[in-house]
Point group: C2
Amino acid sequence: MAELYKGKPVADALNAKMAADVTALKEKGITPTLAILRVGERDDDLSYERGAMKRCESVGVAVKNVVLPADVDPDTFFKALDDLNNDPAVHGILMFRPLPKQLDGEKARKMLNPAKDVDGCTDGSLAGVFTNTELGFPPCTAQAAMEILDFYGVECKGKRAAVIGRSLVVGRPAGMMLLHKNATPTICHTRTVDMPSVIREADIVIVCAGQMEAIGKEYFREGQVVIDVGIHYSDEKQKLVGDVKFDEAEPIVAAISPVPGGVGSVTTSVLVSHVVEAAKRISQ
Amino acid sequence: MAELYKGKPVADALNAKMAADVTALKEKGITPTLAILRVGERDDDLSYERGAMKRCESVGVAVKNVVLPADVDPDTFFKALDDLNNDPAVHGILMFRPLPKQLDGEKARKMLNPAKDVDGCTDGSLAGVFTNTELGFPPCTAQAAMEILDFYGVECKGKRAAVIGRSLVVGRPAGMMLLHKNATPTICHTRTVDMPSVIREADIVIVCAGQMEAIGKEYFREGQVVIDVGIHYSDEKQKLVGDVKFDEAEPIVAAISPVPGGVGSVTTSVLVSHVVEAAKRISQ
């Protein structure tokens, strides 16, 4: 029986810390503010937006919603982004992507001010996570995985770690964050040969393969800590599942984060914590 | 007996390709130009500068030397850097660091235009090597190690790779470049536990530990390819040696780059190839 690394207590602890920081900032006359820039009405975006707004409200972070129609012209969109970049009352910008095809998503990503890039998508943020400096912010999901390790007291120093997946949203940043915590990380991906034996070497495994229940018992051994970043709806099981075959991994490993209720429960708190951190950096 | 991966033929091949590219650029009226910005007269800088100038001359790349006194005031220095950033006739800038203490080295690094950062030291270049995009240039030494693998036909795809050292100049970029070539990289460092057994798992080993002859026979097994990035003067042996105990590794592994005559022979060619590449990017 593995210990369950649930996300809720991790998020609660982050929220408590944030609420205290927000109070301190407000005493200085600063209200940390997240701008949400959304084009159109995609369900995914709306759902994430509701979660982010609720979290902001609960810790005292203000939200400025900028909603543009799905057929917005580029000039209007880029003017709106530029205004948010330059608005001193806005500390963080969440820009939903992908953008509709009339808008150049890469141009938008490059235009976004890294200091306000609370979602960790700009080159500045990615350089920051690679160099371990306070340049922008790490991608929220990668950091959420690390927050879970931190909260449950998993010591990374001297440990073998493995990441399954090399995306810029999770895999590569998570590999770097593990390195910065003095783990010895191995980054695995679709071209890795005999991945199960590589993963069995690791003490800490971050799974962001992006494939539903692709990672079964052959990947695991006793004593491992497993963080499952995947989230998929299984038509067969009629419920949310992860990248890991939970029922196979759980009896073997020392600890595992569940899906749902694991990493996904922490991500929004990390996003909002970046808004607070952005406001703190400016106030210093 | 290991195959010796000497640097000279690698550099020769790079130089031949560059010379052809330079000819093509000159036909378009573009002379690729490297600006070398040096403050003071440090021996290390002067030695590297001579090597770079010689290599530039041999392939037809022009050099613009900007030499400032060791006690230069910040305004003069930053004006000179800004001028080079903005000079359309300058394609690459080699800025020797560390700078004397009256100059803010971090400010200078941040000011350098990534498009001209042929030495791969800016955040833009580091984001480029992390994201595998044409943003700036990879650090020359890391790329020199990869050029040796390429030249000698070492297939990275599906191979285990290990990097000893996690500097931003070699270790971390080399890990990312191995990943981009579809190897499965592990980044080791001073906090790695039982490093020899980690390294023995790898098919390809890049050693940039920064310690003279620190890596002995216990790290190696049959079939490995070893690239030794280290370069140190051994007072005891009265000659240049690497990070690897060459005499111990060579009888075991399949291939190894010697020191001297390995990675160090390729670095300057990589630097100059970046100048040519920078000119090509602008000309497109």
